[in-house]
């Protein structure tokens, strides 16, 4: 009888190297003591993963459920570090949390690694903004980037955080070693930012007027950039003030705008089918070009932005698709609430509900995508 636990060390590592999803890697390293050596030595090459959908559990404070599309299952976890704190997603493996005492932490909800960031007071707010309850609404959006893609190791030293904050929607940056948030001084007109992406040592920021500002990551100085005219759908969303329908994101060297489109009724509630449009920045001709086919990529959208993953089929996800959480207005009206994870196909422009509505409570706190990492 073959004794697989006796597989030589090199072969154990070689087999593990062919595993792509982190969940498979965790299962592999939990089989027996010998197979665990792969986990302990951390020699596994980690590929970018499809995110898990993190759901707030209304009755249980400090608990979160995670939907895995790869395994089609739900993990239920207790995360003490979020108790009593306000949270923001960052479309990465991290969430930002703010305590009642206005301390800021960066938390990986899956590995429980928790980093202290400079407190909100270092943002040099006006006295009004530092008072309750406005002080809890200062941070608008959070983005976490890796300076090197792909990262050499899962090293905290390579990550940095950008936030959009304050009534003027300014940018501030944190990098490891900073004792306070560094405010990005805007030298041009006062832009109010709604989205941030990072590409080749440059921060790209989309503002409410639809223009793109570019900053160098090290000096945080603005870089001259011929501003491309925003596409019609983007202009429309901006005019209507639907800033959370627009997401700026980097993917394989491309800068993309993901634009969600959905009608609203007179009360401002979303009704009707959801559509997504994706535009890529043509750096040579300085214009936005519509992307009709994402190719071998999938986009995962939540209220804080989006994650783009290449090769989604390896994780049982579909290519050329956008995954998002939708609610059905009609059902709200008849008293039956229904929220589900849906997938939109860019080719035929049709959405399909994935059947997780029983897992997603009809809560005001919308779910967030969390990208699993080993460390």
């Amino acid at each position: 009888m073959a004794d697989w636990s006796q597989l030589p060390y090199d072969l154990i590592h070689e087999v593990a190297s062919h595993l792509v999803a982190i969940e498979d890697f965790h299962a592999f390293s939990a089989v027996c003591c010998d197979w665990r050596s792969v986990y302990s030595t951390k020699e596994w090459h980690q590929r970018p993963q499809v995110p898990l959908l993190m759901i707030f559990v209304p009755e249980k404070n400090g608990f979160r459920n995670f939907i895995s599309l790869y395994r089609n299952k739900v993990y239920k976890l207790e995360i003490p570090a979020v108790r009593g704190r306000k949270t923001w997603g960052s479309c990465s493996g991290w969430i930002l949390t703010l305590g009642l005492d206005l301390t800021i932490q960066l938390l990986n909800p899956l590995t429980r690694v928790c980093l202290s960031l400079p407190p909100q007071s270092s943002l040099q707010l006006r006295p009004n903004d530092a008072r309750t309850p406005y002080c809890y609404r200062v941070i608008k959006r959070v983005f976490v980037f890796m300076k090197q893609q792909p990262p050499p190791r899962n090293d905290e030293g390579d990550s940095f955080v950008v936030i959009i904050y304050g009534p003027l929607y300014q940018l501030a940056v944190y990098r490891p070693g900073y004792t306070s948030w560094t405010i990005v001084k805007e030298t041009a007109t006062l832009n109010q930012f709604i989205g941030v992406a990072f590409r080749k040592d440059r921060i790209f920021a989309l503002c409410k007027a639809g223009s793109l500002s570019v900053f160098d990551i090290d000096s945080l100085a603005a870089i001259d950039f011929d501003d491309p005219t925003p596409p019609e759908n983007v202009k429309f969303a901006l005019r209507k003030g639907k800033f959370n329908h627009l997401m700026l994101v980097e993917s394989r060297g491309d800068i993309l705008i993901v634009c969600k489109q959905q009608d609203s009724n007179r009360c401002g509630f979303p009704v009707g089918p959801v559509h997504f449009f994706v535009y890529t920045l043509d750096f040579i001709n300085k214009q936005w070009v519509e992307v009709r086919d994402l190719g071998n990529r999938a986009i995962f959208v939540d209220k804080s932005g989006c994650v783009v993953v290449c090769g989604p089929e390896r994780f049982n996800c579909r290519s050329n698709s956008v995954y998002f959480v939708a609610d059905d207005m009609k059902r709200w009206l008849v008293g039956e609430v229904w929220i589900d994870l849906c997938v939109y196909n860019l080719a035929d422009r049709v959405s399909e509900a994935l059947g997780f509505s029983s897992e997603i409570p009809n809560d005001v706190l919308l779910p967030l995508w969390i990208v699993p990492t080993l460390e």
């Binding site: 009888m1 073959a2 004794d3 697989w4 636990s5 597989l7 030589p8 090199d10 072969l11 070689e14 087999v15 593990a16 190297s17 062919h18 595993l19 792509v20 999803a21 982190i22 969940e23 498979d24 965790h26 299962a27 592999f28 390293s29 939990a30 089989v31 027996c32 003591c33 197979w35 665990r36 986990y39 995670f66 790869y70 395994r71 993990y75 976890l77 899956l110 590995t111 699993p372």
Partner: protein, 163 residues
């Protein structure tokens, strides 16, 4: 018969399986194995080379793999790629774990990188989507963690651990 265009007479390498069977193969085919290649270069390959870790059944399969791939490489563009793909696909029988296990060990011992790669990938494919307990069942592996160790594992990867 050598199918390559060179007119040199191929040196024959003689291997003996653990159960005493003799296999004669051309040097070009033996060269798929880094282990054998080293022996040939060190001029230790003139006599019968014993392979105490590999049975005749497994050795025959490994030699067949090397033959097919050497022939395909020699034929270059004229090689039937689909035929080779089918051979590789049929080579691994996921239900015959005993043979798979022995072949991996043989490929490792003989250091045939392309075969090791293919077999390890096949094993990984059999593991995908399974939790630890399902993997143990499939491969008949004993859970040798103590209660304390299992608690530690659970804490470390707790989010992905089966309940």
């Amino acid at each position: 018969m050598a199918s390559s265009s060179n007119t040199e007479i191929q040196k024959m390498i003689v291997l003996q399986s653990s159960d005493g069977q003799i296999f004669e193969i051309e040097e070009s085919i033996a060269s798929n194995s880094q282990t054998l290649r080293n022996m040939i270069e060190d001029e230790c390959a003139d006599n019968v080379i014993p392979l105490p870790n590999v049975t005749a059944k497994i050795l025959a399969r490994v030699i067949e793999y090397c033959k097919r791939h050497t022939e395909a490489a020699a034929a270059g563009d004229a090689a039937d790629a689909d035929d080779l793909k089918k051979f590789d696909a049929d080579f691994v029988d996921p239900d015959d774990q005993e043979t798979l296990f022995d072949t991996i060990l043989a490929a490792n011992y003989l250091n045939i990188s392309s075969l090791m790669d293919m077999l390890c990938k096949a094993v990984a494919d059999m593991l995908k989507g399974k939790d630890a307990e399902a993997i143990r069942k499939r491969f008949n592996i004993k859970n040798d963690y103590t209660k304390e160790e299992e608690e530690e594992v659970r804490k470390e990867n707790s989010w992905a651990f089966e309940d």
